[in-house]
Symmetry: none
Subunit: 412 residues, 2 copies
């Protein structure tokens, strides 16, 4: 059993709106073991819609359509599904009750648009939309079905979660499909692939995808197995093997973020942290404070862009900067120790580098970053070399700094 | 001339990654007058990719493919385009030089993956990827073309902006299509629409789109005219009218960012700035330092999350916090003045608020933010009320703080 998602709307084709609906539906379908084989976006045009319905109906057992169910002139999905299934619109009591309830709750007037929304394709099943007036539509023919949903994200999500997914669950046949994503950081895709070695032996029939991003590479394991219990076992066997080889680089699973995992670790170890940033320009503090509750461990940060700030705010000795330059191991260490002492935290972490695209030299090229770490046991710094894209250098250095702290804290 | 976009990647089909690439490409194509008629997403599977290439090639004159150009085993786009155009991979000197440059810049080793990246489809045109090793590929057959790009967003964007769009511009036929986007901030979409009044009279046949985002509303003007010179004139007439009505809120055009325009203004007025952040957690400093050359005016920032940091780093009187609370006009003003004086800059700007999702009260709800501004002429603070999404509160407050500085500095 597989699915195809068709999203409808001119606003998607001009790039005005990012297609988050397709991703949401795909995630929910994947969770219950219905793989999505294709996503298609077309405009609010009847002929193109019908053609995309026909092609999807050939390819997939479940076709999900979103968008174009509203009451305005450019919403033609209801017409399209009627034409596709050779039926017409009729007054629907169940839909009418829902629209009446919404109009009353909003203290609104009953308009022509309300009346239009009560019309529903004859022979289709109603998927109740508690949050809006456009009902979801389900057509079933043999073992194929088409589901049409409104494009407003929160209405679409409501119908998917409360109506479509529960219904689809009752229809699922075929082998179990399980996925697990491990999140890594601090290692490039190619080096990680090398380290994992012979993938066939490691995977034993499972699939593995490498998904790189500036925050690190995600490893996604997929297992398809007739027996759901064995599918679960097999995925955890692969997980265990991956963790045995690459445990140093794995910080979490699924959608867990590095700042979130680091935060949990700091809470558990009852440690506080402060940050001294130069080339990352505030990004480490920004990411740490994206976590709700981060005030429990994050005290303060200083973005010391100027040398004066490094000296005055962090107590970096002037002669250290004169002798080694602001981008140096010595200054990174002095910054990390300086922020720890002046902020009175358990841990201090620092960055100093050349974010680019200009300002590099032969000895200190663009993309060179020193990351310092300090706790009561001592202070160290590591050297990193990134590319010349300013934002990427900042992102990679911020991730590396958080990863350095995570490793040091884990060992305590 | 129209286009179809094919995005490739299993991670899209399982809903793990939202397809921002398609929207970016669609926006850029729309800007130069190439409408996108369809977007398709398929997995990393050779047969499906070829089938989607064939269908798109029938429908559209420009087919843009992204994803699957990396060096790992699941990256099969290069193979697919070779098969589609009946050619093979060969060593390419131009691509090799680029990969060598990147490997050298990163101080990395030359690996098998690097070697593989230098192989390029024979007969295709190289679209240089300055930011990564996977080159963009352009095939042209008669008046049709296919462009294959890496899926990593910043690499894709680099090639689209620097290589693909300029090349496509040379190929455009038909009536002139001009677009101009004005960037506004500090005003909601509905209030902006009210302020603009009668659009038909203002636009005189041009089109206007309102594109809201946390950073502000973009106003995109579109003109289609058989005469390119007149198209240009008409678009600037509309621009002038919009500026006359809404000049207070317009900070730039196109892809210009607020931090960039503020930076230019500070350079021109020879002013320096320092930032004291609480609820924005480093985001203002992060955005200011995203601008290359920002060290000319940005000196330092302090993220004073704890009250101790507010007192010790910024000289905020303890009794002020006790009396009014950390989230108050008084503390915002003291922080702005404190950072200006301790950093020795011309301007100090500050934020203090409740980013949420927890921590609000009836008197001080989640989303309440005070923004302080201080220069040698005096210190003020403004109150803002945002929603309860932590990241959105941070982003909107950071934009509002930069906008406040921009307005104050403009008047000097």
């Amino acid at each position: 059993m597989n699915a195809e998602i068709i999203t409808i709307g001119d606003e998607l084709l001009i790039g005005q709106v990012i297609n988050t609906n397709a991703a949401y539906i795909a995630e929910r379908l994947t969770e219950i073991g219905i793989p999505v084989i294709r996503m298609v976006t077309v405009g609010d045009d009847l002929a193109t819609m019908l053609e995309s319905f026909r092609a999807a109906w050939e390819r997939a057992e479940v076709v999900i359509v979103t968008g174009g169910l509203g009451p305005t002139h450019d919403d033609v999905t209801k017409t399209a599904v009627c034409e596709f299934f050779g039926t017409t619109l009729e007054a629907n009591e169940e839909v009418r009750k829902n629209v009446e309830r919404l109009v009353a709750a909003r203290n609104a007037k009953w308009t022509n648009a309300s009346e239009e929304q009560t019309m529903f394709p004859a022979g289709a099943r109603v998927l109740l939309n508690r949050l809006g007036s456009a009902a979801g539509i389900l057509f079933e023919r043999g073992n194929r079905m088409m589901i049409a949903l409104p494009g407003v994200p929160y209405e679409m999500k409501g119908i998917v979660d409360e109506e479509a997914i529960p219904y689809l669950r009752t229809k699922i046949r075929g082998p179990a499909f399980r996925q697990l994503t491990l999140r890594t950081t601090g290692i490039a895709e190619s080096r990680l692939a090398e380290r994992l070695g012979d993938l066939e032996q490691l995977l034993q029939g499972a699939r593995l995808a490498f998904l790189p991003s500036p925050a690190g590479v995600r490893l996604r394991i997929t297992v398809v197995d007739p027996d759901p219990v064995r599918a679960e076992q097999r995925i955890h066997q692969v997980e265990t093997r991956l963790r045995n080889i690459a445990s140093d680089y794995i910080f979490g699973t699924g959608t867990q973020e590095l700042e979130e995992m680091l935060g949990k670790l700091l809470v558990r170890k009852k440690l506080t942290i402060a940050v001294a940033e130069s080339c990352t320009g505030g990004l480490i503090a920004d990411r740490l404070t994206d976590v709700s509750g981060s005030s429990a461990y994050f005290r303060e940060s200083v973005t010391a862009y100027s040398n004066t700030a490094k000296v005055k705010r962090l107590g970096v000795p002037e002669e250290l900067i004169r002798e080694h330059g602001a981008v140096s191991r010595e200054v990174a260490e002095a910054m990390a120790e300086g922020i720890r002492k002046t902020a009175g935290t358990d841990i201090g972490v620092s960055t100093t580098g050349i974010a680019g695209p200009d300002g590099g030299s032969a000895e200190k090229p663009v993309g060179l970053v020193w990351i310092g770490y300090s706790d009561e046991r001592g202070t160290t710094a590591l050297r990193f070399q990134y590319g010349s894209d300013r934002r990427r250098v900042k992102e990679r250095a911020a991730a590396a700094a958080m990863e350095l702290v995570r490793r040091k804290v884990k060992k305590r």
